[in-house]
């Protein structure tokens, strides 16, 4: 068990934005919300999954929708509690622990807000080991844990509780509701026992995010290379360095979809990299050849500062490095790839681990 206070937020939010692969919303807004909650309610206790009792009642607190909208619509603060209370009422139970949906941007700090507001401990784990755009894309889905009953709440005071037959239906119904709610909704879902959390969730990813973020912050102070510092903690690789020459981004059906194109700098002069994204970065292609695909992590970081760049912040002229890292091994199984592999997202590509793709392209 450890205590999480304001001092950890900079590193957590920064590292989570790296792991968030461009999605999960604006880390700055998440940090502001977490800071406000920690100032008001005091520090949050963070426990490892193996420290919680098997009969713990754990609930995921998160935000759903297009990050592009969240940037413009700072939440009021009561929505998360409204979703949690609606779900408690539906289940006729009280939650004992808060869990994290994804270590990406806003959704890595919102569970801190929920833990502070409810006074419940936060379990150090998440359901993706990165960020993904849809609800059913979670390690709990892989072992048959239901995302619903699920509650949604908006800034107007509307709440909705969904009881769906499977996690894809939960996603489908919740997505439409989220769009109606203004393209962003606060959600409570994936209620699990402690025993289920130990089996289903990916442990210590909040600690990993904090460590990655701290590496970047320390490198900035030490005037060493922040991107390489993050890459080392992450076990990843820099796959491209260059300048953004084109961004195409739309908000479609509640998602921020689009592509970004880079022209190479340094060792990549003359080459072109394209990233396709749907909230998160999904596929990176250099000169027509895929070099990294979902579910592996593809993160864009500012070349000099190592600041991670979310898909809604991509803009012409930005000098960036593109980092890839292996995903959690559960995503590389047949069931994992059916849920989050490149074909699910509409790409006519077989998944090849990023280590192999990059190894093929340029021998180390």
């Amino acid at each position: 068990m450890r205590t999480l206070d304001e001092s950890a937020l900079d590193a957590l939010a920064l590292g989570a934005a790296v792991l968030g692969t461009g999605g999960g919303g604006d880390p700055y807004i998440g940090k502001l919300m977490a800071r406000r909650a920690l100032v008001e309610h005091g520090p949050v206790q963070v426990v490892d999954p193996d420290e919680i009792p098997d009969d713990a009642v754990c609930v995921m607190s998160a935000v759903m929708g297009a990050p592009t909208v969240l940037v413009e619509k700072l939440p009021g603060g009561g929505e998360q509690m409204a979703a949690l209370r609606a779900l408690e009422a539906r289940l006729g139970t009280s939650f004992s622990h808060v869990i994290c949906a994804e270590v990406g941007g806003l959704n890595s700090t919102l569970p801190v807000v929920a833990a502070a507001q409810t006074g419940l401990p936060l379990v150090d784990c998440d359901a993706m080991g990165r960020a993904f755009p849809e609800i059913q894309m979670s390690t709990p889905t892989l072992i048959g844990v239901g995302a619903s009953p699920m509650a949604l709440a908006d800034d107007k005071g509307n709440t909705v509780v969904v009881d769906a037959v499977d996690n894809r239906w939960t996603e489908r119904l919740a997505r439409s509701i989220t769009i109606d709610m203004g393209a962003a909704a606060f959600i409570a879902l994936y209620v699990q026992t402690g025993a289920q959390v130990k089996e289903a969730m990916i442990p210590q990813t909040l600690a990993l995010a904090e460590s990655v973020g701290a590496a970047v912050l320390e490198a900035r102070l030490a005037k060493t290379d922040p991107v390489l510092a993050a890459v080392e903690r992450l076990g990843g690789i820099v796959i491209f360095e260059g300048k953004i020459i084109d961004v195409d981004r739309r908000t479609v059906a509640g998602f921020a979809r689009g592509r970004v194109v880079l022209e190479g700098a340094q060792s990549d002069v003359g080459a072109t990299l394209r990233i396709e994204f749907q909230n998160e970065n999904l596929v990176a292609v250099i000169d027509g050849e895929p070099v990294a695909t979902v579910p592996d992590l593809i993160t864009v970081m500012e070349t000099e500062t190592g600041e991670p760049v979310t898909t809604e912040e991509l803009k012409y002229g930005l000098r960036i490095r593109v980092v890839a890292a292996p995903c959690d091994s559960r995503w590389r199984t047949t069931a994992g790839l059916q849920l989050v592999g490149p074909r699910y997202f509409g790409y006519d590509l077989d998944y090849v681990p990023v280590e192999e793709l990059v190894g093929l392209r340029r021998p180390k």
Copy 2:
């Protein structure tokens, strides 16, 4: 108090289709469903609003969506109960009475199904005195009764409970959910005390529907004019007689929208009538002049048989008479017209009562 059994269904379904002004779904399907429920569970007790205790807990059971879809997708039977049970669970209470949303097609017989399945009495009233396409278009809305908490259930086993800030938001959220559920969902909503029902609902409209339907059936047997028989019970008027020469109908955003054009026969030779509909018939225009508009009733009946024709059954060549009748007086108030007047539906028309419009056009 009276007992409703199978023998009443023909008249009830037929008359409700007349009052349904083209909407509310296929009366034949509703009749089949009610017959099955009455055979299985026995007759239903029907009580007048003034017979129920003030602390009764009344719930509306209905179907939502595009009638065009319901024709193709006969419900399984468990969906209504699923919606009612989900709403009881949400409220932590048991319902004592079933009420009717609208006296139109399917939604006039579905409360019979709910009453039979639950064993609860059915209150003889509805919330519209006709059919309307949207949830907030109800007399309870006029006195501030909430449509939510509201439950939706589909044929796949999904249920959703909506708690919205007002009845327009309930409509908006429920409409999207309904579209996801396959453009038709079973709903439970507008939970009201007995005292509220007495104030908010329009009394004895099921009896009116049964009476109108019986008049048509009796006229057919007596070989008198079934349309005129219905018109007399309804207090309406035949505004046009002719043949359908054009139908344009689409399923848009969960509604059946479109228009039908008639060329005149009998006293209307040479004239053209156009009806615009959105599930229900909304505006009737003869040679460019409006002769009846929502919220007044506009019903299409087969010329010879008096069979009411729903908007999804309109087809080229059909010989029909168009009947108009005054709506409940609550709809003619300022608040009523804001909710269901022609301008709400996008027509640049001031509401004029049908008696005046028809009187202006052709002096009696």
